[in-house]
């Protein structure tokens, strides 16, 4: 399954996470603070990192920023509720997704899987997620074999969400992708386009889910109706 690095200052939390991860076949290494976490990451080259945002000393965000200077290992952030701004900050510093404490182990493992299934160099202009297929070359999208009539903006939004299918994308990240040159209040325009996009996607196994205060996630219902 690969190597996972846990960076958390609570020994009990680390033990539990280790149990959960090992039961899934991960090889686990741990660190109790940021600097050691960075050393472990350099030494063990993990396939995925679980990072607690509430680290003492060099905080979670700083650790993440320094990790991102030289590594693009997928990072899942562990946070508590009511930390929306910190979560957004973490995501924009390069975290791939987050779970909120207290979290279920099923949710944790699912998120870990999604953030590892990804990126790398793309060799085709096509991206797919469930029943959704996007052709980035021709700017065409189809869902369940049926073409979607999207405006260029809607296509652009859908493409960044599809590329990160199952993962959270912050509002800011979408805005930067869609309008590299800042508009007056792009967030406002974004909301309008997303509401149109949702109407076009309808209820066909692909949903744009909003996480208030953070951003959007493209959710794929696995078993699409036959």
């Amino acid at each position: 399954m690969g190597k996972a690095l846990i960076i958390d200052d609570e020994p009990q939390m680390r033990r539990l996470l280790r149990m959960v991860l090992e039961s899934r076949g991960y090889e686990v290494c741990e660190a109790d603070e940021g600097l050691r976490g960075l050393q472990e990451a350099a030494f063990h080259r993990p396939d995925v990192v679980l990072l607690d945002l509430g680290l003492p000393g060099m905080g979670g965000i700083e650790t993440l920023a320094r990790l991102r200077e030289w590594s693009d290992v997928p990072v899942l952030v562990l946070s508590v509720r009511d930390q929306e701004t910190v979560k957004v900050q973490a995501l924009e510093t390069g975290a791939d997704d987050y779970v909120t404490k207290p979290f279920g182990s099923a949710e944790l493992l699912a998120r870990l899987e999604v953030i590892q299934r990804r990126r790398g160099p793309r060799h085709t202009p096509e991206i797919t997620a469930g029943a959704l297929k996007l052709d980035l070359l021709r700017h065409e999208a189809d869902l369940d074999g049926e073409p979607l009539r999207l405006t260029p903006t809607e296509f652009s939004i859908l493409s960044i969400l599809t590329e990160h299918a199952g993962r959270i994308v912050t509002q800011n990240q979408i805005v930067k992708h869609v309008w590299p040159v800042q508009q007056s209040d792009p967030a406002e325009g974004l909301r309008v386009h997303i509401s149109h996009l949702r109407r076009k996607l309808g209820d066909r196994g692909v949903r744009v889910v909003n996480e208030p205060g953070i951003g959007y996630r493209l959710e794929i219902r696995q078993a699409s109706a036959p």
């Binding site: 539990l16 009511d82 207290p102 979290f103 182990s105 406002e188 909301r191 889910v209 205060g213």
Partner: protein, 365 residues
Amino acid sequence: MNPPTQPNHPSPAPPSPEGQLGVGIAVLFVLASACWGVLPYTGHMFAALVFLLALVLAGTRWNRGPVLTMAVIGALVWNFLFIPPQFTFHIEKPADGVMFALFFVVALGMGHLITRLRAREAALEQHHLERERLLAEKHRAELSAEAERLHRTLLDSVSHELKTPITIIRTALEGIGTGNPYAAEIDTASRRLQRIVENLLEITRVEADAVKPTPDWCEVSDVLEAAVAPFQRELAPFHTVIAGADALPLLKLDGRLVAQALSNILHNATLHAPHGSVIDIRARLNDRVLEIDIRDHGPGIPEDAVPHLFEKFYRAEGSPTGGTGLGLAISRGLMRAMQGDITAANHPHGGAIFTLTLPVRVHPD
């Protein structure tokens, strides 16, 4: 130019320029008499110097008008009484004529310079006071920011300390699975504990005015979904009906806070309404006010409880266990932090109905 005021000098100066002039003229005549008395010993130049001295003193505290007038009167008096030939305005020697002209120039120039100096001084004083006031204000702002930061740090660390063990218990329980009846009890208790902790932290935040709404354009259906999502398990035994949200335009509001306010009401409904009943969530826009009704089909609210429902730790008689007595108070606190409100009533056809109201901006699209 402002009339120079001198708040810090307990000046005995007569308040009005006319008063000053009166006193000034009196002083000049007294001085003139005195100089007249000693004229044989001092010569007529002495009087001029005495007059100049009086003018300098007057200039340090009086207004410009009276001082300049005094200068003119002084010059004339000196000329009339002291410069030979006496008792005429005629001046015999050219040297005395020059002296007289110099007296005029010096007296007028002095009066002018001194009053300007005083105006400058007063402005400086004003500037200084203003600066002091700004500094004090800045200091106060810094203090309150510091207090707020401290409060938040405290809240965050308490929050972290309380939530970590709960997370550990809940994660560990998942490892065991809830097949074991003892584990199922721990599971229920830990959920309740989590709820209590979250409510306590939230009410602290609400009461400390630490809730800062950040409104953004939202689809109301997203907000309702976010409100329902954390209670899937509690809502499972009910029929939850959500209506009206899809027809609404984009609204500018803090979706997270509204969802949180709503979910406390929902949780309250799950505690009071019988399993299998319908919980209605209905959103509508009423002239730039978003209204969301949550109606349950439970026993309704006892009449005497209605006015106290939103008070902290208030629990209506016969309330089922599982509530903290904080949920509704938090909801109201959150709504009010957004300039909205919340009301509760009994529906004419049975059950309780809570209405959240929130003034919003409506997207023109």
